[in-house]
């Protein structure tokens, strides 16, 4: 992600604080490009969601006979953690906009910690599925194909997001962004909210449906 966002950069001078015409136009391009990138990422998720719904409605019905029992309470707690991180991320950016670096940094740290907590929760869920029900990616039939693929893909996005946000925090600390030039932070926030929204969908189709 960090790579993607730096590839979307056109060389821009940093240092002086007022956003000049070049910066404004470049920001527009980068935000637009990043939004389109997220659209194609959304298509990737949608394809696998389609695959899951297709498999779910053909074959043996859902859950497939003998599929491991997923724990909705663990997942619900995990969801709360992730949505909470969405809120903290929002506060972080707001504080940046209000030129309060210390508050920004604390909210960022909170976001990263919540992200890590979510990953930990997912790890606990995987381990318990594996030890209790011998569920595995390749060995659990279409349950493995859909559940582990989709939640795994999402977990990977969270993992990348945690690294991405860490890099952004370090960059912000090092003075890469100014209070009027912070496109990178905006893109990071967009990405994190995107990951949140995907989780809403995944949670509904796997735990509620």
């Amino acid at each position: 992600m960090a790579v993607a966002s730096s590839l979307l950069s056109t060389p821009v001078t940093h240092g002086h604080d007022d956003a000049d015409q070049l910066y404004i136009e470049t920001r527009e391009l980068r935000v637009q490009g990043f939004l389109l990138f997220m659209v194609s990422d959304l298509v990737l998720f949608s394809s696998f969601i389609f695959a899951y719904l297709y498999l779910r409605n053909t074959g043996q019905g859902w859950p497939p006979p003998g599929a491991p029992h997923v724990d909705i309470w663990l997942a619900a707690m995990n969801s709360v953690v992730l949505f909470g991180s969405g809120a903290t991320m929002h506060f972080a950016l707001e504080n940046w906009k209000h030129r309060n670096f210390m508050k920004f940094a604390s909210w960022m740290v909170a976001t990263i910690v919540l992200g890590l907590l979510f990953l930990g929760g997912q790890g606990v869920e995987y381990v318990s599925l594996y030890t209790k029900d011998h569920a595995s990616w390749g060995g659990s039939g279409i349950f493995g194909a859909s559940f582990f693929t989709l939640t795994g893909m999402h977990g990977f996005h969270v993992f990348v997001g945690v690294i991405y946000l860490t890099v952004l925090l370090l960059q912000a600390t090092a003075g890469t962004y100014t209070f009027s030039k912070y496109t990178g932070l905006t893109l990071g926030t967009l990405y994190w909210h995107f990951v949140d929204v995907i989780w809403v969908v995944l949670f509904s189709i796997f735990y509620l449906l």
Partner: protein, 366 residues
């Protein structure tokens, strides 16, 4: 900004109308040829009723396609010649500066749209005749293998791997599926085909209308010898001849097993069965029909929890006592009875080791 009336008036000259007339005549000839004259049946006989329906649609499509192509290609050629840059034109000569003609554009949107509607209605009509029939015909099954077809007939044991015969005039419901990869069942003289997809049953319904011997062709790529999967024939017989053929097979296959030939025939060694592997297999292969619950909880077959340990559990479906060996035998051979049919080892894709694992797992349920 744009000057609305800058487009000069369009004058179509006599040449244009003459060419239009010529193209109309050619198109009419094309239409008459495809609609009435084209000897389709001498190229490819119409073996079943559906072939006639599809050919009538093909005639319609060919006729309209030919007419459309004649007009497009004709005007393309005519304009190319008539409006080529001539030696007398300077290098700066420009054409008539027309941008649009709303009326013309409206027409060439409406006319194709109407045509599409007509085509769609006609296609849907034919489609309904082909796809919406009921399954009350004589049921025959065709099964794809790498690289041959086999056929199953009612009251004929086993499978027929030679020619497929059908009686003239009897409605047929043909179910097709595959044992391995995707094949397809196509008889060009029937004009219809269905893919043979493992795990899915596709159905063709038709009534044979013409006695003859017709090639069956596989049109879905199915591996090395896909190209050779055209060596079997569908034979449409008179009812008398068909009956003789059918009874011949009934006698010939009188003692054939309905089970698909299994890989292993001897008793299966049950040593070393793995309970966990068996549990996994049970969820994949068995649980669609058997619950992991007491005997009385029937899904398709009975619940199998404690089948080998519960003293109250009755005998197995084939009347044998519920011992590990007898359970393994059913898993191996399959069973056909009034409850339905349990696929055998091959159809279920079970190795001997898998059966050992399954028996070990069933033993562990109490």
């Amino acid at each position: 900004m744009a000057v609305e009336n800058r487009d000069p008036a369009v004058r179509l000259d006599r040449g244009f109308w003459l060419v239009t007339l010529l193209l109309a005549v050619l198109a009419a000839i094309g239409i008459v040829y495809w609609a009435l004259l084209a000897p389709i049946t001498s190229w490819l006989p119409e073996a079943v009723d559906k072939a006639q329906q599809i050919d009538s649609l093909s005639r319609f499509l060919m006729a309209s396609g030919t007419a459309l192509f004649i007009f497009v290609a004709g005007y393309l050629l005519y304009f190319s010649i008539a409006f080529r840059r001539r030696a007398s034109d300077g290098p700066d000569a420009i054409g008539v500066q027309i941008h649009d003609n709303n009326k013309l554009e409206l027409w060439w949107t409406i006319v194709p749209a109407v045509f599409v509607v007509v085509m769609a209605i006609f296609s849907i009509q034919i489609w309904a005749g082909i796809q919406l029939g009921d399954n009350n015909g004589m049921v025959v099954e065709a099964l794809g293998h790498q690289w041959f077809y086999s056929f199953r007939y009612p009251d004929v044991h086993g499978e027929i791997t030679n020619e497929m015969h059908l009686p003239l005039g009897t409605p047929v419901t043909l179910h097709v599926t595959s044992y391995d990869v995707i094949h397809s069942f196509w008889v060009p003289d029937m004009r219809i085909k269905a893919d043979m997809v493992p795990g899915i049953i596709n159905t063709l319904r038709f009534t044979p209308t013409k006695v003859g011997r017709y090639q069956i062709v596989c049109t879905e790529f199915c591996g090395t010898l896909h190209g050779e999967m055209n060596k079997q024939y569908l034979v449409i017989d008179t009812p008398q001849k068909y009956k003789a053929w059918y009874q011949g097979w009934q006698q010939k296959n009188a003692h054939a097993s309905d089970a698909i030939p299994t890989q292993s025939t001897g008793a299966i060694s049950l040593s070393g069965g793995n309970v966990n592997a068996g549990k996994m297999l049970f969820t994949q292969k068995c649980s669609a029909c058997h619950a992991l619950a007491p005997f009385s909880q029937k899904v398709v077959g009975p619940g199998l929890k404690g089948v080998l340990s519960d003293p109250a559990h009755p005998n197995l479906v084939d009347g044998a006592k519920a011992t590990p060996e007898n359970v393994a035998k059913i898993l191996q051979k399959g069973y056909k009875g009034d409850m339905g049919q349990m696929p055998n080892q091959t159809a279920n894709g079970l190795t001997d080791k898998d059966i050992a694992d399954l028996v070990a797992f069933l033993k562990s349920t109490k």
